[in-house]
């Protein structure tokens, strides 16, 4: 068995005292920095990159991977506790995770996301070890037409994501897409809607938008209520998930893992869709879909698992082709180059200790995260007991530091402030920010893939129908859209409230 001997090589590399220590430091530091509101994995890895310079390549990459998982987990923590997602993946976690925290179940939400992430990480590691190579060639067949169709399907998820009016959700998606078109045109280099400002030339940063309309707006809204808050006032219930909650979460975790593993290995950043897809799936399958958005544990468990599985399998294009599927992996490529390794298909054969050592370390890193984080849950939950007058300024200050650290640009902080007011108004008028963020994230991908598909087909729209994958995805999207729109149309006619 090749696989077993390769894995044995990997584990013997990853289990050396030095590499175990590096993985642990990576996970711990990643978690601690990643927990700063708005500081997602990208900012964390960037900040911590220099500390890996003095280490050998395998150790350095193991540590960086640890920082990555740690930061991802830390990002979920801040999404759950203070409703500030640091990256696209934790937007979904913030929805029900923060709702759970408000109901006094922050510990359960944190616990289940740690457990879900661990299970997803373990499965995804096996997927990478066993299937990375054959799947790579398959994933390469996925072209711009297919990505376009996939992202259109993602937009349909956004409709499902909203638990209010479908019309308002669609409006928010469109606004999100419009916001995503700000910045230089990919094909012509022309500046679009930048008002001549260089700051807008690259568009709006996701973290800036998300922190503004999610986190800061949430703080503003909470100010209305004075000190009376439902967050963990009185009884808190058990700190960790109850047996019943775990039982309800198992199926969503497994389904999320499957979705995340598949989407993550697409070289065109399919992982970004994973948590949204999982949320949609769980809501459709749930016995009580009306609980979604109000703290359903399935809505935390599934997407968290999907997010982590996707994060893990997005290493596949990097490891087997040397091509980074997203910004985080691009930094990993940079780290490899600094270590003197040319990323490419040859890494696997030329440095098997690196390839298999990293895969083994993924499993170890996931275990460490569980060990580090479960005991910390109590500490994080206690943080919520800090009075608002202390907690809010602290959140704002840390968030501003986080935003500034993304690009070392003070204008980003100003923009976040502006989005906070916009977000506050939207909440007041009953518009939800989550579909807007999904529209924003997918907007870039939809536009670029659509135009690229058009360029490649020299303007023939039939390219979408000729391609079986894109055709099927587009048909499924239309079907899903019809399914989600129908009940609410009917509801309006019959004046019955179907989905809150």
């Amino acid at each position: 068995m090749d696989l077993l001997s390769n894995l044995a090589l990997g584990f013997s590399t990853a289990m050396s005292l030095q590499n175990l220590g590096l993985a642990f430091i990576g996970c711990l530091v990643g978690t601690l920095i990643g927990i700063l509101p708005g500081v997602g994995p990208i900012a964390t890895i960037t900040m911590l990159l220099p500390i890996t310079f003095g280490i050998d390549p395998v150790g350095a990459l193991i540590m960086l991977a640890g920082i990555y998982y740690g930061a991802q987990y830390g990002g979920s923590t801040s999404a759950i506790l203070v409703n500030i997602p640091g990256e696209a993946g934790s937007v979904v976690t913030a929805l029900d995770g923060h709702a759970m925290a408000k109901k006094g179940r922050a510990g359960a939400a944190l616990g289940i996301s740690a457990i879900g992430s661990f299970i997803a990480g373990c499965v995804a590691t096996v997927v990478i070890a066993a299937l990375a190579l054959p799947l790579t060639d398959l994933a390469l067949r996925f072209g711009p037409t297919d990505y376009f169709a996939l992202m259109v399907m993602g937009l349909v998820f956004a409709v499902v994501l909203a638990h209010g009016s479908v019309l308002k959700a669609v409006a928010m998606i469109c606004l999100g897409i419009l916001l995503s078109t700000i910045g230089s045109d990919l094909e012509t280099g022309q500046a679009r809607m930048t008002f001549g400002s260089l700051h807008l030339a690259d568009g709006i940063d996701f973290a800036v938008l998300a922190m503004g309309i999610f986190g800061f707006a949430e703080v503003l809204r909470n100010l209305e209520g004075g000190e009376q808050r439902d967050v963990i006032k009185g009884t808190m219930g058990p700190l960790l998930p109850t047996r019943d909650e775990i039982r309800r979460s198992i199926a969503p975790i497994l389904r999320g893992t499957g979705l995340g593993s598949v989407l993550g290995m697409l070289p065109g950043n399919g992982a970004v869709l994973a948590p949204f897809a999982s949320y949609t799936l769980e809501k459709k399958l749930a016995k009580r879909p009306q609980d979604f958005g109000k703290g359903a544990i399935e809505a935390v468990a599934g997407p968290e698992a999907a997010n982590n599985a996707g994060a893990q399998t997005s290493f596949i294009p990097l490891l087997t082709l040397g091509i980074p599927p997203n910004a985080v992996m691009a930094i990993m490529v940079g780290a490899m180059m600094i270590q003197g390794i040319v990323p490419g298909p040859q890494v696997m054969t030329e440095s098997p200790t690196l390839f298999w050592g990293m895969i083994a370390s993924m499993w170890i890193g996931n275990l460490m995260l569980l060990v580090i984080n479960l005991p910390m849950v109590g500490m994080w939950v206690r943080l919520l007991k800090v009075p608002y007058r202390l907690l809010f300024p602290a959140i704002l200050i840390f968030s501003c530091i986080g935003i500034y650290s993304i690009d070392n640009n003070p204008m980003d902080v100003v923009f976040t402030g502006a989005f906070a007011f916009a977000g506050y108004l939207l909440i007041k008028m009953g518009f939800e920010p989550a579909p807007l963020l999904l529209g924003f994230v997918l907007g870039h991908l939809i536009e670029e893939n659509l135009r690229r598909a058009m360029l490649l087909s020299r303007g023939e729209l039939s390219t979408f129908a000729e391609n079986p994958v894109s055709l099927i995805l587009l048909i499924v999207s239309v079907g899903l859209l019809a399914l989600s729109a129908l009940p609410s149309l009917r509801a309006k006619r019959e004046k019955v409230f179907v989905e809150d």
């Binding site: 990159l49 990919l186 012509t188 490529v333 600094i338 990323p343 690229r452």
Partner: protein, 324 residues
């Protein structure tokens, strides 16, 4: 008391007169910031960090890399243009930001040698012309013949409008007199993905990562764009050898300081840079991105910047590449 005060005054005067001289002699006395006008990850960032780390050990101060990304490098470049010219703020400049941007971005109002003090060249990065493994063309002449047979039907990928990979391909089209379709991507990774997936016919990429795909049998290299063959792929001819007369496309990289930076400071940084570039371990590290070290004086750098600016400007005018 009186004596003390006078002694103090004398001492102060002595210190004051000595200060300017000491400032230069003791440069650097604090951290030096090396601005990379691109986000972390990727070749530019890696080069800056490798050079910064090595220079820290030579120059006696920490060289700290700061990423100031935005507008194709214009944001970070301008931040250095407007920084204090004391040698504590340096810029990693290259053909993209210095030679191409001023022609294509209206916002890039700077001039590489009039608004900056060239400190020294680091390296140049030639590229490789890589084709999809199923493309019938076996050499550059074959590719040109194919493109002439089917004008406008061959697609090439670039890492974005106005990047080196775009310009190298346009220069090729211009010199060979062929018509090809440009498909821009965000970065070299996605561009290579579609080449491997068979949707793109060819692209110009940095040599080591292209070489990695070529040795894996996933793509073929037809030529390199430098004037000399690359030690990484010695069997691959240069464009000139492969029938495209006078063709050369290599991106130059160097350190720049704001205009008005004192000569002694520039000399000192240039000295440190050249010591670092002579180190074989560092050369090996730089080679990961296909960098060929080009140590030299600030004057060499200045000349290279001027000719680079002129070369790309001429192409953009002649080939009528409209970006805005």
């Amino acid at each position: 008391m009186k004596l003390n005060r006078r002694a103090f005054g004398l001492m102060a005067a002595a210190v004051m007169t000595a200060l300017p001289a000491m400032a230069a002699a003791e440069f650097p006395e604090r951290n030096i910031t090396l601005v990379v006008p691109f986000p972390p990850g990727g070749g530019n960032d890696a080069m800056a960090r490798i050079i910064g780390d090595a220079m820290t050990r030579v120059i006696g101060a920490n060289v700290v890399v700061e990423n100031k990304a935005g507008a194709g490098g214009v944001v970070g470049t301008q931040s250095v243009q407007n920084a204090k010219p004391d040698g504590y703020t340096l810029l990693l400049g290259h053909s993209g930001t210095m030679g191409i941007n001023p022609h294509v971005y209206p916002a890039a109002t700077y001039h590489p040698t009039k608004d900056f003090t060239p400190v020294g060249l680091i390296s140049e990065i030639p590229m490789a012309l890589v084709v999809n493994k199923d493309l019938p063309a076996q050499d550059v002449a074959g590719l040109i013949a194919l493109a002439k047979e089917k004008p406008g039907e061959l697609s090439y990928a670039s890492s974005g409008v106005g990047t080196g990979s775009h310009m190298a391909a346009e220069l090729f089209a211009h010199d060979a007199g062929i018509e090809i379709a440009h498909i821009p991507y965000r970065g070299s990774g996605p561009a290579m993905t579609d080449l491997l997936g068979g949707r793109i016919d060819f692209l110009f990429g940095v040599i080591p990562s292209s070489h990695a795909q070529v040795t894996a049998g996933k793509a073929r290299a037809l030529a390199v764009t430098g004037t000399k063959r690359s030690p990484t792929m010695p069997e691959v001819p240069t464009m000139q050898e492969a029938s495209v007369e006078g063709y050369e496309a290599a991106l130059i990289y160097g350190l720049l300081a704001p205009v008005g930076t004192p000569d002694e400071v520039v000399t000192k940084i240039n000295g440190a840079l050249n010591i670092v570039l002579a180190d074989p371990t560092l050369q090996e590290k730089l080679a990961v991105d296909g960098s060929v070290p080009r140590p030299g004086t600030p004057e060499d750098h200045s000349k290279a910047l001027d000719s680079d600016l002129e070369k790309w400007g001429a192409l953009i005018r002649d080939a009528k590449i409209e970006i805005n």
